[in-house]
Symmetry: C2
Subunit: 145 residues, 2 copies
């Protein structure tokens, strides 16, 4: 079934980027898709199979929103936590609006991962880039203002 | 892409049901798919749009494993927390093995929800039934021992 009716009240960048329920759904999407992308990436670059589930750091997501020049989706005077919620809400909107499937988000993140992400500092750097690229990719699916 | 290579080392019921990394991925799948199913169910039975993201209670998942007669996937002397992890691992296995998509899991849970799940006690009862039905449905995709 289509889930578009779950977002039909959200028509502007700010309505999407500041919706709390949407951000909660997006939190689940971000953590799940990144966890699977990371598991694939680590397994492909190792001799053993690695399965992992993690919570994506707020810094990674707030960096991505800034780097993609999409802070206008967030509320005024937003802190890093607010900016991360905005990224989560945007990603949930795109999924619920049938613009990207969850598998497409997993594959996109995995294709955009590089570096030694088992190192925490490196992971923050390279995951920020992967999420920046995802936001730039999905900008065309979002309202223009 | 197919994610089957992420589970090719898991061949028995116990290997699947006791794998910690798989359970972590499954935790994300369970929480996300149930959150969207609940959002759809509540929105369809209300005059307003409701979007919610929640963590599925361990009691719901351990009930489901017992009701579906699938405790043999869990470790010996498993407590409720272990049983819930086993459910999460099983669901992740079925998804990674291309047997159900995430949207199919969302739709299945939504189609199996009934009752007044805004009431906490009722939600535990009816969500347990929905997850029991899901486990019974996916039993055919799992090893026979």
């Amino acid at each position: 079934m289509s889930y578009k009716f779950l977002i039909k009240d959200l028509n502007s960048q700010k309505e999407i980027g500041t919706d709390k329920g949407l951000a909660k759904i997006g939190d689940g999407i971000v953590n799940l898709t990144y966890s699977i992308a990371k598991s694939i990436f680590l397994t492909e670059n190792s001799s053993t199979i690695l399965r992992t589930g993690i919570k994506v750091n707020k810094t990674i997501l707030s960096n991505a929103l800034k780097n993609a020049n999409m802070k206008n989706f967030a509320k005024n005077r937003a802190d890093a936590h607010d900016l991360a919620n905005t990224v989560e809400a945007i990603i949930a909107f795109v999924f619920l609006n049938d613009k990207m499937t969850l598998n497409e988000i997993i594959d996109f993140l995995k294709d955009n991962l590089i570096g030694n992400i088992e190192n925490r500092t490196q992971e923050i750097k390279y995951a920020s880039i992967a999420f920046t690229n995802l936001l730039i990719h999905i900008k065309k699916f979002l309202p223009e203002e």
